[in-house]
């Protein structure tokens, strides 16, 4: 919502439907290339590595049996360190050691091949699902807005009174129905995936209805925001004279702080009761009874890399959203003298849009790497059915959900930046969304050391 009004024809929203088709194509292509193509090759490598490992393991077992047989024969003959039996004992021992080493190497290769397959497969699937959701939001909300009749034109009057919006009610109702039907949605999906579940179609339908209602509510909100209306100002203490949306965003962030504080206090309560590798290293206890995600992640640069890249991605995305805001508010903005930057950011309007696009790309990278990392942890047996797994997946999952919701909001902001455009009058929208995005970054500043490094 902005402090200026724009006469925008609803037909402009048909662009989002075209973009949605493009997003679907990109998502399917990414799945085809990453999960279907490279993932299949990686799966073949994994199958080969499995066979190699099985063969090496059998050879190692056989060599061990032969060694034990040779050892028992040598021991039964007095364990003399000379003679044919002793030679046979030494040879079989060397052969067994070598076979065990080969089996160990094959096992490492098998694990590496499995993780490589999971990386490509999970990345492809995640990108496809993300782009389907992006396309659903753009396509459904855009189509819904494009068929709406146009309202009367504004005549340069920026003092029009703000009218109430039905969007929050629609969105809240959508979430209500979605959550009511969600258990049925999950069991139906599991049934369709061939698992041993009975499909609950009524729950699935209720959840689907909720989703459509939610998207329509969001679409309605987008439509209202695109046209803009005067900024409402608080008239009473303590926010007197401040923009209501900004005050509201901060109140919302207070509630978010409490949500993440509850995760942290639960984690701390559990963590103080565990004897982890960290506690053993610190001399607090002697026998490890709990393996945390950080135990599996922080020991090797390759396992820590996704979390570290994600940290940098969020920090960079925080900076790009600040740059988008700065550019929108800068009436004296000029293209860079650097040729590459001038191509990337040719005009103020396009610069804002492209900074937002970069932010979306970095946020999407965050989600992809997070799920790749989860797939690796699950493959190593760190699942949600343990205390350590439960708090890790719930806390980092809640954070990831916040990132994803931010990405959906940014989809609209990119559309607005590309059509109406952001300037010094309506740049507040970026500032207020930026508060949310920076909060997500702030939460990660606490989650990353607590769950990945400690």
């Amino acid at each position: 919502m902005s402090g200026s009004l724009h006469d925008v024809k609803n037909s402009i929203w048909m662009r989002t439907v075209v973009i949605a088709v493009g997003l679907l194509v990109v998502g399917v292509l990414a799945y085809g290339v990453m999960a279907g193509g490279i993932g299949s090759m990686m799966h073949q490598d994994w199958d080969d590595a499995n066979e190699e490992y099985e063969a090496a393991k059998n050879a190692a077992d056989l060599a061990l049996e032969e060694f034990k047989f040779a050892e028992s024969r040598w021991e039964n003959n007095g364990s003399q360190e000379e003679g044919a039996l002793y030679e046979e004992y030494l040879e079989s021992k060397a052969a067994s050691d070598e076979a065990t080493q080969v089996a160990d190497d094959a096992h490492h290769h098998q694990v590496d091949a499995h993780l490589s397959y999971l990386t490509w497969s999970t990345a492809g699937k995640t990108i496809m699902v993300m782009f389907i959701v992006y396309a659903a939001f753009y396509g459904v909300a855009g189509f819904f807005n494009s068929i709406k009749p146009d309202e009367e034109e504004h005549h340069g009057d920026d003092h029009e009174e703000h009218h109430g919006s039905a969007s929050p009610i629609m969105m809240a109702g959508g979430i209500l129905f979605f959550m009511m039907g969600f258990p049925g949605f999950v069991t139906t999906c599991k049934a369709w995936l061939g698992l041993d579940y009975d499909a609950d179609l009524s729950g699935f339908a209720l959840s689907g209805f909720g989703t459509i209602l939610l998207i329509m509510g969001i679409g309605n909100w987008w439509n209202e925001d695109l046209k803009g209306h005067p900024e409402q100002v608080a008239t009473s203490h303590p926010f007197e004279g401040q923009d209501i949306r900004k005050a509201g965003m901060w109140i919302f962030l207070i509630s978010e702080m409490m949500v993440f504080a509850s995760f942290f206090s639960s984690y701390l309560r559990m963590r103080t009761g565990w004897c982890t590798q960290w506690a053993v290293d610190a001399g607090k206890c002697s026998d490890v009874d709990t393996t945390t995600a950080s135990d599996l992640l922080r020991g090797d640069i390759m396992t820590l890399l996704p979390g570290a890249i994600n940290t940098f991605a969020l920090i960079i995305s925080s900076y790009t959203i600040v740059l988008a805001l700065k550019t929108a508010k800068n009436v004296n903005w000029e293209p860079s003298k650097n040729a590459l930057l001038a191509k990337l950011f040719p005009s103020r309007k396009k610069a804002v849009r492209n900074y937002l696009l970069i932010t979306i790309a970095l946020g999407s990278l965050f989600i992809v790497l997070k799920l790749v990392e989860w797939s690796h942890l699950i493959a190593e047996g760190f699942t949600i059915d343990s205390q350590a797994g439960s708090i890790f997946y719930v806390a980092t999952g809640a954070h990831g959900l916040h990132v994803f919701i931010g990405l959906l909001v940014m989809l609209f902001m990119v559309f607005k930046a590309d059509t109406v455009g952001y300037d010094e009058n309506n740049g507040r929208g970026i500032e207020y969304f930026g508060l949310y995005w920076h909060f997500v970054d702030l939460a990660w500043v606490a989650i990353f050391p607590a769950f990945y490094l400690y």
Binding site: L268, M270, L304
Partner: protein, 134 residues
């Protein structure tokens, strides 16, 4: 959002660094966030300080993580979220839940009766020692 020059002990330091390199405070804040992220990852990753035999203890790493977290949190809240420069009511609003957050972490987070001892008594409220000895 304020475009004025930042003053004060820490914010002023950020501003001075920005003036020195001819960029704005956002850029300096971005660089500081990147540097301290590298620093905390390195603190966990290395067993000794590179080039020396000085062992990095778990206690030292823990202290680094807390201090770096505070610095990064300040940078994001003060500059990216514009609390420095915006009316003070927003800082008060942001600090309001901190009381509850501290109470939750103190009252719930550090109150595990199975907790590894070594924490001072003032930060282990409601410990049921009879439960531990049963």
């Amino acid at each position: 959002m304020s475009e004025e020059k930042y003053t004060g002990l820490i914010a002023g330091l950020f501003q001075k660094m920005a003036d020195m390199i001819g960029k704005d405070v956002y850029y300096v804040n971005f660089l500081i966030l990147m540097f301290f992220t590298l620093f905390e990852v390195a603190a966990v990753f290395f067993d000794t300080i590179p080039g020396t035999d000085i062992v990095i203890t778990r206690g030292a790493v823990w202290a680094v993580l807390i201090i770096v977290g505070i610095i990064k949190g300040y940078g994001i809240a003060a500059f990216f979220m514009h609390l420095k420069g915006d009316p003070f009511i927003y800082t008060r609003t942001a600090l309001f839940p901190v009381l509850f957050v501290v109470l939750m972490i103190w009252g719930i987070g550090l109150s595990n009766p199975d907790g590894i001892d070594g924490l001072p008594s003032w930060c282990t409220p409601n410990w049921d020692y009879s439960y531990v000895t049963e």
